[in-house]
Symmetry: C2
Subunit: 158 residues, 2 copies
């Protein structure tokens, strides 16, 4: 990763990512791909989720989508502009699209995904000039810890 | 729409789109944005859905995502390579991403979406050179009927 991509790790970012990492570790313990996500508003966690693609036999059941849907339900509103989404892996096209639909205000992610990441790596849907919502993005928070979990999971499965 | 974008309307495409249009009309009758989707395999409908963003207070509850999840559940498998998804409106980033995740074999859509369509209009995620699945796409089937429903809905709401 180019050094310039690494953000300053603010205490708030680290606390949110710690909660997302907890979810990712829970996923690993359940034989799910270890990606975790939380949605915060005013420092309080509104929703927590981890990948459930194996349990649900549903490749769309990504942590971020489930966390967004959980936060919408908790708040009973249809936009999350005042919220921050923390996720251990850079969101894919589906989840980046869901972030735009739900108008999430801020996205903080851990590991970059050079194969499918759509928040800067392969493309950028959350800061797309032609879409009707743009997100504040911080990438690379606790990148090593987030990436190590994924690497260990896939090495173990081989 | 440029004339070259209009595909030959095969009987199969028209039948699939008729079922999707039925769902879109159902959505309109429920005060939902009139977009409908169906998933077919070997000519049989595996799942039907329409937008439920109002009912669920969830902007991610798009017809295509719900239809894909329904088809995965019906088949009990995690990929839809042998399936065709019919939807009355060009999928957005989220739904195009879900189509890639679920490895849908074929996508047939009705109206083009010049503001958010990610299957050729604003961008193309279902035939993206760097993603790990590419979809066969036919756009513009029953475009006028599909677009007319949306136009009438939004004119009525003004």
């Amino acid at each position: 990763m180019p050094e310039g991509r690494r953000p300053p790790a603010s205490p708030g970012n680290l606390a949110g990512m710690a909660a997302a990492l907890h979810e990712a570790r829970l996923a690993a313990s359940l034989e799910e791909v270890p990606v975790g996500a939380v949605v915060l508003k005013d420092g309080a966690i509104l929703a927590r989720a981890h990948n459930e693609t194996v349990k649900r036999c549903d490749p769309t059941a990504h942590a971020e989508l489930l966390a967004i849907q959980g936060a919408l339900k908790t708040l009973g509103i249809d936009r999350l502009e005042a919220c921050s989404l923390y996720v251990t892996l850079e969101p894919c096209a589906q989840c980046a699209g869901a972030i735009v639909l739900a108008k999430v205000g801020r996205l903080v992610f851990g590991a970059y995904d050079d194969k499918a990441g759509m928040c800067g790596s392969v493309g950028d849907l959350v800061r797309h000039a032609k879409l009707n919502h743009r997100v504040e993005v911080v990438g690379g928070v606790e990148e090593e810890a987030c990436g190590r979990l994924l690497k260990a999971f896939f090495e173990h499965r081989r």
